[in-house]
Structure formats: C-alpha cells, structure tokens
Symmetry: C2
Subunit: 279 residues, 2 copies
C-alpha cells in the first residue's frame, strides 16, 4: 500500500511558486491574501495559522480583518468592497459559516471574481461547472487534483466515485475530474447501494463529512482512495475513511491528517500568486 | 415495453399552464417570449415554428427579431439590451450557434437572468450547479425531468447514467437529477467501459450527439432509457439510441421523434409563464 502524503505535494508546488513570487518581486509586486474573519472560532483560527505559515514560507503576505460577532451586514459589505478596490490585495477569503444574522450568500457573491481565490462567488462556480478554467476552483477540490497529478495517478477514462455533493467539495470536484476526462459518479446520503458504487471505482474520493463511514466493505484491491474528510474524535483526527481497515486492501490512500488538508493552503497560495501574476 | 411518448407530458403541462395564463390575463399580463435569430438556418426555423405553435395554443406571445448574418456585435448587444428593458418581454431566447465573428458567450451572458428562460447565462448555470432553484434550467434537461415525473419514474436513490457532458444537456441534466437525489454517473467519449457503465444504470439517458450509438449491448432488462439525441438520417430522424435493438430489451424508452423533443417547447412556455408570474 502506498501512502499518498500531502507534504511532498505541497513542497513541490511551493518550489514552483517561490520562483513565481521572485519574478513578481522584481516587478515590485508581493502577492497578498486578505482574510476576513468574524469572531474567534477555533476552526478558523487554526486554518488561519496554517495559512500564515504557508504564505510566510513563500514570502507572500496575509492580512486579516477581524470583526466582532455582532458586525452588521452593511459593515461587512463595506469591508469586502474596500478589499475589492485595494490594488495591493490579490485574493480575498471570508471564513464561513458566518453568524446567522448575516446574509452569507450575498457576502460571498460580493467578492470580486478576479480575487475570489476559493470560489465563493456564483460567477466562479459557473466557470468550474462549465470547465472553462476562467475562475479559481475551491481550494480543497483543487488539492485533490494536485495530489492525483503529483503521484501520477491517471484519471482520464477512469471510473471515479465521489461520495458527497456539497458546493464546497463534491460538486466542484466532480466537475474538475470530468474536465480531466474521468467517468464521474456522484454518491450521497440517498444513494441506494453505496458499498457497490464505491467498490466499482478505480479512484474513490470521500467528502461525505461522516467519520470512518467508508470501511473495508466499500473497497477492493487496486483502488486509489482519497479522503477529504477531517473529524476531531476522542482519540485524535480521522477522515471519512476507516484508515486501518481500508489501507490493508487498497493500492494507495491519503492519510488523515497529513493528506488533502496539508495541500489546501498551498493551493490557496497558488491561486493568490496566479491572481497577482494576472493582475 | 412501455413507450414514453412526449405528447401526453406536454399536454398535461399545457393544461396547468393554461390556467396560469388565464390568471395572468385577468391582471392584464400576456406572457411573451422574444426570439433573436441571426440568419435563416433551417434548424432554427423549424424550432421557431414549433415554439410559435405551442405558445399560440396557450395564448402566449412570441416575437422574433431577425438579424442578418452580417450583424455586428454592437448591434446584437443593443437588441438584447432593448429586450432586457422591455417590460412586456418575459423571456429571451437567442438561437445558437451564432456566426463566428460574434462573441457568443458575451451575448448569452448579456441576457437579464430573470428573462433567461433557457439558461444561456453563467448566472443561471451557477444556480443549476448549486441546485438552489433560483434560475431556469435549460429546456431540454428540464424536459427529461418532466417526462420522468409524468410517468412516475422514481429517480431518488437510483443509479442514473448520463451519456454526454455538454453545458446544454449533460452537465445541467446531471445536476437536476442529483437535486432529485439520483446517484448520477456522467459518461462521455473518453469513458473506458461505456457498455458496462450503461448496463449498470437503472435509468440511462443519452445526450451524446451520435446517431444510434447506444445498441443492444449497452442495455439490460428492466431499464428506463431516455433518448435526448435527434439526428436527420437518410431514412428519417433517429436518436442516440438504436431504437429497434434497445426497445426489445428495456422496460421503457422514449421514441425519437415524439419523445424529449416534443416536450422542450412546452418547458420553454412554462419558464416564460413563470417569469411573467414572478415579474
């Protein structure tokens, strides 16, 4: 069994990106991400720390606007509009979910598509749907693609089963894989025969949001398994896949932690650098 | 074998729509579609005749703006903008493909989303992708859904295979079916084992654009087959499915002609009426 670790993928991406950042530096441009965070949720803070660390390693900038949980829609919209207009900002990331009194969809769609480095806007979602490569896909699905590419796992013509249909991972990931000519099956909670659907795949990708729901009965020899899930359990972090049972059978599998999640912030950096290049 | 004819579906839809049109009439509103046609292509003219006939049956209006093949981008854009602003127009349909000197994407995206009754804009495509029901899906995929609904063919939890991945049919159709909780597999020209993928489906839907490419080896007993293709051959019209060979085996199948195509204009009418109601 081959363990598809995320760090070597991130490292290879970073090496390429450092060259791009150096070229930009010669032109006096420093790639910059603006984070908008409402409140102090631990998930957000942890992701934020990961972003700062990764961006610092590439000499790219991050600046966080922190707003209180009581922030008004009007105030938040003004913040986004300000960042849209700020020429030094190349990417905008608003941590979600937002508090319930805020219109999250409206906020997300307010981000300038050219700075929408995590596919928050409907405009970029449409580009991912159409496969026209004119908008940035969300970072997590793109991280899956980077892992497959890095480890030379061919998807063209292959049967790829995606478990999960969210707009954050499942749907955009399915479209990215379709664009790479995979035969894509989208499964979800209503799928009648999930075990068989999973077993028939050449590549099984789980973004179901349920800890260890994919067990030994869902897989077969020779498969590649990519686990997008990440869940805090009493005994530590785990994915959607029961790693101990599944890794015994399949050809290759991403660990959790240390798999997809460790590539996501590098994809974010890549998108911000690309945005700075195209400016 | 049950033949899933389109006309009974269209008729049932029309009966409901007539009531809506009558209610609108009491408010002094007549649903109106604006067609924009460049040139005199036979395909367009034939579709246009079908639209006029169907709309007349429901006392809804159609008005066609005919432009020469030499029309400029500027002129065509002005036509669209005029129709966007015209309060009597509830739906806009631009026949495509447009001549090569025109920027078709730009034209399509210029249509006001509220009047975009055939999902020409990226804004409506994004709504179909997200499954939020805020935009009109394209008419042909919606016609497939209407046929399945009319004949009581359950898709929730079922394995549906879609052959074709265009933005006109395959992709939006896959999303509409996903929204109805089908387990959707998207196949295409690069799919390695198309025969098996098709045979494994509970419902097989073809929008591949290749005459009679789906034969007896692609199907099994008990399946429902929906044929979206329509091709002019020497001996008449045919679909993507070899009807003679396939209809012998499956449980139910749409004919070509007389299947999906005969529901499409009624879906267009439905969208225009809905647009007039929501105005």
């Amino acid at each position: 069994m081959r363990e598809l670790k995320g760090m070597p993928v991130a490292k290879a991406m970073l090496e390429k990106l450092e060259k791009e950042v150096n070229k930009l530096e010669e032109k006096g441009i420093v790639p910059k991400l603006a984070i908008v965070r409402v409140g102090e949720r631990e998930d957000d803070l942890s992701y934020e720390r990961g972003i700062y660390k990764r961006f610092a390693a590439a000499k790219a900038l991050v600046e966080t606007t922190v707003l209180s949980l009581e922030v008004t829609q009007e105030k938040l919209e003004k913040v986004i509009q300000g960042l849209n207009q700020d020429e030094c900002v190349h990417g905008i990331l608003v941590f979600r979910p937002l508090p319930e009194h805020l219109d999250e969809k409206r906020i997300a769609d307010l981000v300038a598509p050219a700075k929408d480095v995590d596919c928050m806007t409907m405009a970029n979602a449409a580009h991912v749907f159409a496969g026209d490569k004119l908008g940035y896909p969300p970072c997590t699905p793109q991280a899956v693609v980077e892992i497959l590419d890095h480890y030379g796992i061919e998807v063209c013509g292959k049967k790829v089963t995606v478990v999960g249909r969210s707009m954050v991972v499942g749907r955009p990931l399915s479209m990215l894989l379709l664009q790479k000519h995979a035969t894509v099956t989208i499964c979800h909670t209503r799928t009648e025969n999930l075990e068989e659907e999973c077993r028939q795949a050449d590549i099984l990708i789980t973004c179901a949001g349920a800890p260890k729901m994919i067990t030994g009965v869902h897989v077969k020899q020779g498969q590649v398994v990519i686990d997008v899930g990440i869940h805090a359990q009493e005994d530590g972090l785990c994915g959607d896949v029961d790693y101990a049972a599944v890794s015994e059978q399949v050809e290759a599998i991403t660990p959790v932690p240390g798999g997809v999640g460790s590539v996501t912030t590098t994809v974010l950096l890549k998108h911000v650098v690309e945005s700075a290049v195209h400016k």
